[in-house]
Symmetry: C2
Amino acid sequence: MSAQTASGKALRLGIAGLGTVGIGVVKIVQRHAEMLEARTGRPVVITAVSARDRSKNRDADLSEYAWETDPVALATRDDVDVFVELMGGHEGAAKDAMLAALKAGKDVVTANKALLAHHGQALAELAETEGRVIRFEAAVAGGIPVIKTLTEGLAGNRLRRVMGVMNGTCNYILTRMEDAGLPYDVVFEEANQLGYLEADPNLDVGGIDAGHKLAILASIAFGTKVAFDHVQLEGIGRISIDDIRRASDMGYKIKLLGVAQMTGRGLEQRMTPCLVPASSPLGQLTGGTNMVVLEGDSVGQIVLRGAGAGEGPTASAVMGDVLDIARGLRLATFGQPATTLEEAQPAVSAAPAAYYLRLNLMDKPGALAKVAAVLGEAGISISRMRQYGHADTAAPVLIVTHKTTRDAIDLAVGNFLPTGVVEGDAIAIRIEEL
Amino acid sequence: MSAQTASGKALRLGIAGLGTVGIGVVKIVQRHAEMLEARTGRPVVITAVSARDRSKNRDADLSEYAWETDPVALATRDDVDVFVELMGGHEGAAKDAMLAALKAGKDVVTANKALLAHHGQALAELAETEGRVIRFEAAVAGGIPVIKTLTEGLAGNRLRRVMGVMNGTCNYILTRMEDAGLPYDVVFEEANQLGYLEADPNLDVGGIDAGHKLAILASIAFGTKVAFDHVQLEGIGRISIDDIRRASDMGYKIKLLGVAQMTGRGLEQRMTPCLVPASSPLGQLTGGTNMVVLEGDSVGQIVLRGAGAGEGPTASAVMGDVLDIARGLRLATFGQPATTLEEAQPAVSAAPAAYYLRLNLMDKPGALAKVAAVLGEAGISISRMRQYGHADTAAPVLIVTHKTTRDAIDLAVGNFLPTGVVEGDAIAIRIEEL
C-alpha cells in the first residue's frame, strides 16, 4: 500500500447538528478547502446538513448543502461518505442516526461522549461488522488530541493510569471561587448566566459529563469495555470556599479530577473532587482549560493541555477525525477489535490515599476525642488536625489523614453523627499525589 | 476498506543501532508481544539487528535475531518489512542504510533528527517514489507524540506558531544554575559527568540538536521544505547566573526556546535563549522535561509535556510509529506529498519583541547617557534600566526595551563598544510573551 492512498475522490460529509460545533466544522471546511486537499490528497466537502430548526440564523452560508429534517435520512444519503454526528444526547435521534449511518456503510465522526459512554460497545461492534470506523476525538477534552495520543501515539505502552480535568465548567467554578473568594452558589449562578452550564447542570457539576469522558479513555487505555456505570461519581456542589482556602494553605488545589487505573483488584474509575499538589501541572490549571495526564510503562508521564470546549477547539478535533478518514487512516473504535475488549472488573478506590476531612464539631467537652476515636476504630490514623475558631455552637475541624482506603473513610464518616458531637455530614476529599 | 486491515501476517522489524533506544525497543517488543498483537491485529516481531560491536554486553536477549554487521545489509533483508534506524548521524551509515531500505521497498522508522533536518526533503521524495513511509516521532521531543499531534490531530488547523523547549540537557543546565546558584561552567561540567551531553556538546548547548527538531516541526506545520540552514541558532553558553536571577526578579525564566512562525515576511525559525513568563507552562518547566506548544487557528493553544529523552520514552515513540505501520496507517513524511512542500522564505526574527540587555558599563562620566543614545539612534526605546553596584572599573547594567526588532538590537549591540564606555559584548535576550 502506498502512502496516502487517497484516491483524489472527494470525501463527502453529512453534518447532523448545526450548533456551535457543527457551524465550526462548516467554517473550517469552507475556509481551508485548499489546505485540507493538500494535506489529504482529496477534496473534503459537505454535501448535506441537518438540524431541528432550518429557519434559525446561523453564522455560516449553508445554501450550497442539501437540507434534511431527519438525521436518519441525512445519515443514509447516497452522497454522504462520513456521517458527522453533532446533535448530542445518548438516546433518540443521535443514536438512531448513527446506527443507520453504520448500517448504510458510512463512517461516523461524533462528539457525543454520552452516547459512547452508554452504547460504545454495541456501536463499536456494529462498526466492526459493517467494516466502518467510528471516531470521536471531540468527545473527550475538546481540542486536545487525547484519543489519538492514547490509541496511537502511546500504543506501545501498557497504560498505568489516566487522569484528567475534563470539565472546563467545574474547573472554572473552582478557580473562580478561589480567585474571587465567592461561595459555590454565587459562582454557579455566574456560570449559568455566562452560558457555561449544560441544560441539566448536574451533567457538569455532578461530574457526569466528565465521567463519560473518563469511561471512554479507560476503555482504550486498558482494553476493557466502556463501563460508565462503574465510574464512582461525585460532584463539586459540596466544596466550600473554606475547603479551597485550607487546601491552598497546605499547598494543594481542589480539582474535579478523573482517575482511571488498573489495580490488582480490578479497574478503578473515579471522577471526584481531589486535592492535588498546587505545584503540579494539574494544580496549576486554571479556568476552563482541560488537562489530561497519561502514564505508560515506557513513556512515563505525558501531559496534554488545551481548550476543552468551544467552537474552534471542538471543530478542530472533529476535523482531525475527518481528515484521518480522508487519508485512509482506519482504526478500531477503542484501539482494538471491540470483540476482544474485556469486561472490566470494577474496583472502587482500590488505591489507598490520604484524605482531607472537614466536619463541624460542637462545643462539647471531649468532642475532639470522640472524633479521634471514630477514626481510630475505622483504622485511620491522623496526620494533622486543626480546629478553626471556637464558636458558641459548632466550629469547623479540619483533619488530614494518613493513607487509608475509601471504605475506611466512608465507615468513619457514617459513624461521626452518632457520636452526638458532629453537626451535619462530614466532607471527605481524596488527596491525590501526582 | 475495513478498519484495521491488518492481514494477521507478522510485521518484521530490522533494528540498526543497539544503544539505549534500540534496546528499549527490543524490550517493548519482547515484553508486550501479546498486547501489541491485540492492538494491531498481527504479531510484531524482530527478525534482525545490527550494531557496531557484537560482543558488547547488552541489557536484552538478542539470540533469536539474525545479526548483520552492515546496516545496509540489514536494511535490505528479505525478512525485514520495517527498517528501524537508531544509529544517528546525518551522513554515512545511517543515511546509506535508510536510502537502501527505501529502495528495497521497506518502510522506515527513525529517531534521527539530524538526518531529517539535513536530508528530509530528498528522503521524503524517495519514500514517495517508492511508495514507502518514513516515520520519525522519536526524532522530536522524545516520548511526546508531537509529530502525530501536529500532522494528524491538528490537521484541520492553519498553524500559527510552534514553540518548544526541546533539549532537556539545556533546560536541565538552566534550571540547575538557578536552583543551586551555580555558574554555567560548573553546571556544564556536572551535566558532562552525568552523561547528559552529546559527544559534541555544542549539539546540545549550541542549540543545534533542538534546531534540528524545530526545522522538522516547521516543515509539517507550514507545509514547507525542511530548512534547518535558516534556523537562527544561539546557544546558552553566555547566560550567566545573574541573568537568570534578574529575569526571575522580573517574573521571567530563561529557556532555550524554539519558535517557528509564518509571518508576512516569510518563515521565522529561531532556537535561542528567551525570557518567558515564569507563570506560563513553559516558564514552569524544570529539569530535563520537554514541552511543545502548538498554536492553530481553530484549536488555539495545545501544550504537550513529557520526557524528551531516555530509553523508555524514546522507545515508546519508535513503537508508536511501528504500530501505525502495523495497523496500516500510512502518511506522507511531512503530512503532505513532499513534492507539494513549498520552499520556505526565511525571515529572521520578523516578529518584534521586547529585549533584555545586559552590558558592563565603565565608571565614566556620562556613560549611561551614551548607552541610551546608542539605543535611541537604533530606534529602541527603553522600558526600564538598572545599574547594579558601582564598582571601580565596570558594573553590569540591565536594560529592558520596549518592542523592537532583532535588527535594531544587533545594530545597537554593535555600536556599544565604540562608545568607549561599555566593556565586552552585550548580551541580548528576547522576551517572548506567550
